[in-house]
């Protein structure tokens, strides 16, 4: 079972991203859980969301305290909260940031696992003309967690976009471009 914790700010779509990931994993035949930790609902306040992905039915219903992966949707959170709390050293941390890997690593002198970065906001702005980092972030998460390979992901996302954007087919290709670019542009892991 893979356990993932998401950190974002209210309104940025961390919950949506966790549900999207659950969807994608579900489509590959996995058992999934996707749930946010609900608190006071305030735009901009730090929020947490969780995923469990498994080959067998999932019965555990607690929050995740020792995640295999942590995804940070907003890099301003890394100095505000302890995003690596409980994160396994053989797991990985993925951060959506415009900073380079070396700069990011300085924030985590006590974390010895893998660190990845992706500039999902830049990819989103360039491909879609707006800051919707979820699609690019999702692609990066799937790459580092090995939930599926690139071909499977592209096929899966294309199907999902065809369904989601049935009424605006012209945005399908830009979204697919974001998926492909994010796959290539994830940095780090060593």
């Amino acid at each position: 079972m893979i356990e993932i914790r998401w950190h974002g700010r209210g309104g940025q779509g961390a919950k949506t991203a966790s549900l999207l990931l659950a969807d994608v994993a579900f489509n590959t035949g996995k058992f999934i859980q996707g749930f946010p930790e609900y608190g006071p609902e305030r735009m901009g306040a730090p929020i947490t969301a969780y995923n469990r992905i498994s080959d067998t039915p999932i019965r555990i219903h607690s929050n995740i305290y020792e995640p295999d992966y942590v995804v940070v949707v907003d890099d301003t959170l890394i100095s505000a909260i302890d995003v690596t709390k409980g994160l396994k050293n053989d797991g990985a941390l993925l951060i959506n940031t415009s900073l380079n890997l070396e700069e990011i690593k300085k924030f985590f002198p006590n974390y010895f696992g893998k660190i990845y970065t992706i500039d999902a906001s830049k990819i989103s702005t360039e491909c879609l003309g707006a800051n919707f980092p979820n699609t690019a972030l999702l692609s990066a998460v799937i790459k580092i967690t090995n939930i599926m390979n690139k071909e499977q992901l592209e096929k899966n996302m294309l199907n999902s976009f065809k369904h989601k954007f049935a009424k605006k087919p012209d945005v399908i290709e830009p979204n697919m471009e974001a998926v492909r670019r994010a796959w290539e542009e994830v940095k780090g892991g060593n």
Partner: protein, 390 residues
Amino acid sequence: MIRERLSGNEAVAVAMRQINPDVVPAYPITPSTEVPQYFSSFMANGSVDTEFIPVESEHSAMSACIGASAAGARVMSATSSQGLSLMYEMLYIASGMRLPIVLTCVNRAVSAPINIHNDHSDSMGVRDCGFIQLYCESNQEAYDNLIMAVKIAEKAMLPVMVCFDGFITSHSVENIELLEDDIVKQFVGKYEPEHYLLNPNEFISMGPLDLQNYFFEHRKQLADAMKDSKRIIEEVSEEYAKISKRKYNLIENYRMDDSKIAMVVLNSTAGTAKEVVDKLRDEGIKVGLVKPRTFRPVPVKELVESLKDMKAIAIMDKADSINGFCGPLYSEITSALYSEGLNIPTVNYIYGLGGRDVKTSDIEDVFRSLLKIAKDGKKSQTTYYLGVRE
């Protein structure tokens, strides 16, 4: 069988769409709001032909349920927490008039202080109102129990409350296996009450004044109906197993066969606790778990059968009776054991109030303390508040 991924609230709304009740009066309250919300979208797109009544309070919601049900309609609603508290008066009327209303209760703490998260204070607070109560571990169980509830209610002529954990189950997306629409429709069938107010061929009165001469007999009827509902729940569950391949009993025994130590726990925490049971068994420690599916009626015979050979039992209450003694599940189960002449060291844990997360390590602590009690044969204390800061 349809493989899907849905939250508990979505699952229940889908079940309601498949059941296509005649009337759904509802008033929104977190965390059950999504149930009428999703359901009203099914109304809007024409996939049900239900009369949806957006009422002005939960008291009115249950009142409208009662009126519609007495008129002869198949009726459903959903609520949580203070919403259920506000229905309190009408819940007794629903059961007293023997109306088969199906109510989804998405369990949430009852204020004060204000809290929107999960515990079982709401449904435990109305445990004596004459509703059958079914408790659900997962979104799958919520879906299955809701479909069965319609049939159980109509056969028993008792209202049924389907309870599952707010946020933990209601808002968590998980895998689920849905039945085909027509299979559900066929299973629940058409509601044909024997007596109802809108029957043009029969002129009857419902809910009349019922004084010293008859009231006691009518309450005895209600008590008998609740007792007999055990048989009906078993029959309906048997029938449901045929269409779903999922068999539900009044209680679920998990790895109890060779166990001398047991935990009794309701709803989603049972899932977390099963993980701990497996872990301890991997270490060679024989522990088991009992999960009551019905709390009303109390499955006395089944509980006693499962627990009679235990050396130590922990009964987990996600609600407190504030009686200076113990929680509601503890008092009923220990009285069941005592009535059968069993005196087993049994402890009570009040846990998870107001949505305090229950970790596997918390459950493991409980099992480890039971090991000690089983060894010594005695306990130093009856009621504990699991993980609370003193």
